[in-house]
């Protein structure tokens, strides 16, 4: 998928053109492209008057930002305490073998990204897996692969 970077200036201009707008601008760029393209970071730095090095520092600090293009579906395995004791690691392994990638990676066809995350606030439904924003409660080792079955 080719991204249309011509929208970047408009996104940057939504906020006051000053250093303190940095995180809001990055959030909007992340939302638009589901990652932070390098060119967008350069434009943001120049427009907001923040050194590129600092923009990079912020972009790599927060989990909410990603410098790599993510898959169409982001699969997040909760490995928080409650999910952990109910077998999150085994769930993670199942998904890794199904997708043939490690957590943190994206499949070659760009369809899936697999991530592990801390508690997603639904411990009663542990173990939990998210596909994009959708919660899948009480996942089971023998059926979890269905979540990433090619459709």
């Amino acid at each position: 998928m080719k991204h249309d970077l011509s929208r970047v200036p408009e996104i940057i201009e939504r906020y006051p053109q000053q250093p303190s707008s940095l995180i809001m601008v990055l959030q909007d760029i992340q939302k638009e492209f589901s990652y932070l393209p390098c060119e967008a970071l350069e434009q943001t730095a120049a427009k907001l008057g923040v050194p590129l090095s600092k923009v990079f520092s912020v972009s790599t600090f927060y989990n909410a930002f990603s410098l790599n293009k993510k898959g169409d579906t982001v699969v997040r395995v909760c490995i928080g305490t409650a999910c952990h004791i109910r077998g999150a690691r085994q769930i993670q392994e199942q998904l890794e073998t199904a997708l043939k990638i490690q957590a943190g990676e994206t499949t070659k066809d760009g369809k899936f990204t697999l991530e592990v995350v801390g508690c997603v606030g639904a411990c009663a439904m542990a173990p939990v897996v998210l596909t994009n924003d959708r919660y899948h409660p009480q996942c089971k080792v023998n059926t979890v692969k269905k979540l990433v079955a090619k459709r």
């Binding site: 390098c38 970071l41 050194p51 590129l52 090095s53 600092k54 923009v55 990079f56 520092s57 790599t60 600090f61 410098l67």
Partner: protein, 259 residues
């Protein structure tokens, strides 16, 4: 002026002066790895931790970083209490897990009775202690070419996008200030390499030796009002010139006096 007690001695300090400066003036040795004269305090290494209390605090004590805590009237400071040593030792234990082969850390740890970390050593240890002196010095100089990136285990100093930093001028201030010599650079003939960039060094018109990078000279003459001519000769030639000028002035004033 305020007066406070440090390790049992009453001392005076400027109001707002940081404790670390007062402690050092008294000749007390407190480890302070992220402190550097050229930049603002950072509170990153936590090793300069001291114990503070006041008569009026009813025995309550607090542990603060001396490099960031301003001297206050009636403060009672202990730089080496049992608890402080314990805290410092556990910090050094962590440092040892990250920088097991770094002489600076090994020495400090050994002073605290540690030769081996009790934690798991990181997979690929290096000499960067994450003090942030390099990035802060570079910011202070006005370049902000490098910064701290990532967090947790992955934290490191890096140029933006991990590519040759566009804002770097090759001044070497970062490498010079680094307490562990972690930042590598290379000067070969009139070529300087640092952070994956290559710079051309100007050559001294008098000695033919390399001086500073073209980019750094351009910056200094533009923003620091130093004429570009100045960088056409190196420091040695400047000193030589200075010495002979001073010599002439001395001879001249002696002549004046004997007239």
């Amino acid at each position: 002026m305020v007066s406070l007690t440090i390790n049992g001695k009453v001392v005076r300090a400027e109001e707002g002066e940081y404790l670390l400066a007062v402690i050092r003036r008294m000749g007390i040795d407190v480890p302070a790895l992220c402190d550097h004269a050229a930049v603002e305090p950072y509170g990153g290494c936590r090793l300069c931790m001291v114990e503070i209390t006041k008569e009026s605090w009813d025995g309550w004590k607090n542990y603060v970083t001396a490099c960031l805590y301003p001297a206050e009237q009636d403060l009672i400071v202990n730089t080496h209490s049992e608890k402080v040593i314990e805290l410092r030792t556990s910090l050094l234990d962590l440092f040892l897990a990250r920088n097991p082969e770094t002489p600076l850390i090994q020495k400090l740890a050994a002073d605290h009775g540690l030769t081996k970390t009790s934690f798991e050593v990181v997979p690929e240890p290096n000499d960067c202690i994450l003090c942030g002196i390099c990035t802060r010095v570079c910011d202070e100089m006005g370049f902000a070419a490098i910064s701290m990136v990532n967090r947790g285990h992955g934290r490191e100093v890096a140029p933006p996008l991990n590519e040759a930093p566009p804002d770097c001028v090759g001044c070497l201030a970062c490498a010079q200030a680094c307490p562990t010599n972690y930042i590598k650079f290379e000067d070969i003939g009139t070529t300087r390499k640092i952070w994956g960039r290559e710079f051309e060094l100007l050559t001294c018109e008098k000695t033919g030796r390399p001086t500073i990078t073209r980019e750094f000279a351009a910056f200094l003459s533009k923003h620091r009002d130093i004429p570009e001519e100045y960088f056409k000769v190196n420091d040695e030639a400047h000193r030589d010139e200075l010495a002979s000028t001073m010599g002439r002035i001395t001879r001249w004033s002696v002549q004046e006096e004997t007239k």
